[in-house]
Amino acid sequence: MKKTNAWLFAIVVSLALVLSSCAQPGAAPAGTIKIGLQAPLTGDFAAEGQWAKQSVEIAADLINKKGGILGKQVEIVIADDASNPKDSALAAQKLISQGLKQVIASYGSSVTAPAADLYDENKVVSVAYGSTAVRLTMEKQRPYFFRTCGRDDTQSEFFVKFVTEKLNAKRIAIMHDNQDYGKGVAEDAMKFLQPYIDSGQVEVVYYDAITPGESDYSAVVSQIKAINPDVWFFTAYYPEAALLLKQAREAGVTSVFVGNNSVPTPEFEKIAGLDAIKGSIHLNEPMPQFLNFPESREFLDAYKAKYNEIPGSIWSVYAADALNALAAAITKAGGTDPDKVANAMRTMTDAKGITGPLLFTERGDRKDIPYYAYIYNDQGVLELYWPK
């Protein structure tokens, strides 16, 4: 008889699941515009997801205080993708099933890619905020896909310009973490360095990956010390950057450390410590604290008022700008029709965001993202370094 119970149990469970799916919210009540946010609220990049959520909610508050979009209040519908491609596909399907026509999605290129395909197939306009792989826009045309962040190659190109024109470095070390983002930047950097390598102007003396998630990088630090490059470009995330830099300075490595746009965060400063970060240079789009647009000040003030700090990374600010871009496009299109909104995204000329004008190319890339090199001064505060 027990077996029967077990079978019954199985059926009850499956029925319960079916019923629980009925608990999904139905159609949007009139008077609001629902915009989805797909973010890694759990998993390895949970912190980024939380920041993105907070930033987007602040941006939505600001929009709503000014009367919303087309007179309607914005409501953010959140789906967690756990920073994993499978959950990303499910999160996307969830938002699509709820009838959303515009979403902000997501952080990490290999997580964004499957979701972007789904959004595109279902004619949902999606705007990525932390997915910089070139292939997202260049491999195939996704008519409904946009991103507010830059592209790996823009950054890599800037790096090459920076080391050859400003630093006049000859011996360069490039280190990545074998992950989507870091490796992308590193490969592109190699590509743009190639002419200089061929002409003998620079030499790449180190090109390898570290294993992310570990704590002790002294083996690779010893190697860097022995090679002693002029410039040491680390293309991946801040947790490893902080440890590497700290351990390298402790071991007496004096090479110029160049980090990318995901490195200079409060966490980075805390983990590496003042002694280590002094004099390290970071390539970045204009950072929030250096932005002088009225929109950026307004956003940062509101964020500070609520969370008593500024967003932990630039990506969450791009997420907020993704909302701003969508708001502007919906306003221009006069509604949420995806074709019209996508068209408006491509053609709008006067949308202003926290990170500057929100302009997009035909393929969905953000136009004219300027890059700057920032340096930590002796007090551990970032200063603009180049170009001034």
Binding site: M1, K2, K3, T4, A6, W7, L8, F9, A10, I11, V13, S14, L15, L17, V18, S20, S21, C22, Q24, L41, T42, A79, D80, N84, P85, K86, A89, L90, Q93, K94, I96, S97, Q98, S109, S110, V111, A113, P114, D117, A133, R135, E139, K140, N178, Q179, D180, K183, G184, A209
Partner: protein, 637 residues
């Protein structure tokens, strides 16, 4: 104590009423199964089931396939494999690479991915399959990491590194291709349906039983004629091939694969699916996969706490239901659970048929009627009347000589006893004869043929069966299943006929069952046929072990202290039974401490002390041999 016995008899009496199978259960089960299938089929069209929930259903399907794939390795054979994601990855990458580079259709790649994953598993597990549980476990973790990191490092530009492979196509059947969530849902579940039918057939065949014997007791399985290495590798190959197929389906659905899909955490999830559902239980795997996928989806609102709950739930679950949610219940299924078609409804009818057909004489060489189970040993009479001979066998353990230059001769149709004080090396010699130890020097000759260095299962197949000093049954299998391991080594149908349930395979399975039924009846345990071996009292377990050995139709049966732990009456019955076996044409070698048994039934006695033979003679002469007295009682000063 009496409480336990009463309980046991009550439980057994349920199977004694002539039916043995609770047929009401079967009907309810079928109805429930039909409802389940109907719900599953209608699921995409149920109100409020949107594409999101259909996709959830699809991913449940992927994890069901993965769970089933690991269930073969972990559930059926008990091999700790925490690297199943590696084989899933191999399948997905095979699909990704061959589709994008050579444009081979996805549907062709489905079997190909399975084949390559299975082939890869064969190559990498062959050298390490003999490792003990936890060592194998870490090696599989290592394989998982090696595959993932290799994919990350983009060797030869094939795997595209961390970006992964994009642009994988959809399964295309020519007339239509599978694109929508609903189509994918049906696609994966139809494949699962086919796989489950195949797996159930396999589970209920000699292949599936061989896997279970290994899981229950590897040494006993090998000693009963199961080629342990072969069946472990087979499980790995079939299991990983299934994971490879899952990789193909996953890749064609997502159209993009990257190493992030195939982490150690993924392997752990698959592992948990199998254990949550119940080892070796197919319905359990279905439920386990559903829980693993759906639980986090439902609790996504509590993002920060859902894994906390999940962890706690796992612990609580193991405390209160350690066997999993839907464990396989063999004892309830009766003979019907053995998966042999056209068995008589009443199990006693089967026994009657067996007894009437004269199978009782089948084990005798002249009367061997069933060609499938006949052994060569029965056909050729041994030269010089010697069934077994050891010639100057020496065994050393780290410099310590356990058996020294030992000669033993066993004549046909006789009972030979090997006696000696504790630690004399008797069991060690047994282990040499049955192939568990390899002697340092010397030869073992069986029926005129040298068998030194053969593996235990090969020796069993040649016609030597054994029992163990400490009973080694297959505790969570039923008595009949225990005994069915005996005829295994003479049967020939492998994986494919078992999955197809070919007529030849069915005939052979039935014959295995008949042989086992006969032996079970012969030792007087027929009424306990559907009881789990571990629930039998000690004396009956000993008898069951003898029945199991007899079922391999041996020429020589080697019994290690059969009377230990038996009371006087049981010992008496045992002696009578052994004498009967001699009458039936068997030859017996005994290790025995009970001198009444030794002197009562032995034709010859060999005495061992400190690893050497000190006497071999007729029983009555042994009594008076001064060296024997000295060995047992110590030298008179």
């Amino acid at each position: 104590m009496s409480e336990i016995t009463r309980n046991l008899t009550q439980r057994i009496s349920k199977f004694q009423d002539g039916k043995g199978t609770p047929s009401v259960d079967k009907k309810t089960q079928l109805i429930l199964l039909a409802i389940l299938i109907a719900v599953m089929a209608a699921y995409p069209f149920l109100p409020f089931v949107n594409n999101y929930w259909i996709d959830v259903g699809f991913f449940v399907g992927i994890y069901v396939l993965l769970g089933l794939s690991l269930n073969i390795i972990l559930g059926e054979v008990g091999l700790f494999n925490l690297g199943q994601a590696a084989f899933y990855a191999i399948g997905a990458y095979t699909t990704g690479i061959l589709y994008t580079q050579l444009q081979i259709p996805i549907i062709v790649l489905l079997p190909l991915s399975a084949l390559i994953a299975g082939g890869f598993a064969f190559l990498v597990t062959s050298p390490i399959i003999h490792l003990r549980g936890d060592y194998l476990c870490i090696v599989t973790i290592g394989i998982g990491e090696i595959v993932r990191i290799t994919a990350l490092n983009n060797p030869f530009g094939l795997t595209k590194g961390a970006n992964g492979i994009t642009g994988i196509g959809n399964p295309d059947f020519g007339i239509f291709s599978i694109t929508t969530p609903t189509q994918f849902y049906y696609y994966v579940w139809i494949i699962i349906g086919l796989v489950i039918i195949g797996l159930i057939n396999l589970q209920k065949s000699r292949v599936g039983r061989a896997w279970n014997y290994i899981r229950e007791d590897e040494i006993a399985a090998e000693a009963n004629g199961i080629d342990v290495r072969h069946y472990k590798l087979l499980a790995f190959v079939i299991g990983t091939a299934l994971a490879g197929a899952a990789g193909n389906i996953y890749g064609s659905k997502m159209m993009i694969i990257s190493p992030a899909n195939f982490t150690f955490m993924e392997s752990c999830l698959i592992f948990v699916i199998v254990l949550l559902g119940g080892l070796g239980s197919i319905p359990g795997t279905l439920l386990g996969a559903a829980i693993i996928v759906i639980f986090p989806e439902i609790f996504r609102q509590f993002a920060n706490y859902r894994l906390l709950f999940f962890g706690a739930a796992l612990v609580i679950m193991m405390i209160f239901r350690p066997g999993g949610i839907l464990p396989r219940r063999r004892e309830r299924a009766g003979f019907r659970g053995l998966g042999i078609s056209k068995l008589p409804e009443d199990e006693n009818t089967l026994l009657k048929e067996v007894l009437d057909s004269g199978l009782s004489t089948a084990r005798q060489p002249e009367a061997a009627q069933e060609p499938t189970l006949k052994t060569k040993a029965h056909v050729h009479p041994p030269p010089n009347g010697l069934v077994l001979e050891t010639q100057r066998v020496t065994v050393q353990f780290g410099g310590l000589t356990a058996v020294s230059q030992f000669d033993l001769t066993i004549r046909e149709n006789q009972i030979t006893s090997l006696i000696g004080p504790n630690g004399a090396g008797k069991t060690t010699l047994f282990n040499v004869i049955t192939g568990i130890y390899r002697p340092l020097s010397g030869k073992v000759i069986f029926m005129g043929e040298e068998i030194t260095g053969l593996k235990p299962h090969q020796i069993t197949t040649k016609g030597i069966a054994r029992t163990f000093q400490n009973i080694r049954l297959f505790p969570s299998l039923t008595s009949i299943e225990n005994v069915m391991s005996g005829p295994h080594c003479h049967a020939t149908n492998g994986t494919i006929p078992s999955i197809m349930r070919s007529p030849g395979q069915q005939k052979e399975e039935r014959h295995i069952l008949e042989t086992a039924s006969f032996r079970l009846h012969q030792v007087g345990l027929w009424e306990y046929r559907n009881e789990l071996a571990r629930n039998l009292p000690y004396g009956k377990q000993k008898l069951l072990e003898i029945a199991r050995a007899l079922a391999s139709s041996p020429k020589l049966i080697v019994l290690d202290e059969p009377s230990s732990g038996l009371n006087d009456k049981e010992t008496e019955e045992l002696m009578e039974f052994l004498t009967k076996l001699i009458a039936e044409g068997l030859t017996i070698l005994l290790i025995e401490h009970d001198m009444n048994v030794v002197m009562g039934i032995s034709d010859r006695v060999s005495v061992m002390d400190m690893g050497s033979r000190i006497a071999e003679d007729l029983p009555q002469n042994i009594y008076n041999n001064p060296r024997v007295i000295e060995a047992y009682l110590g030298k008179e000063e």
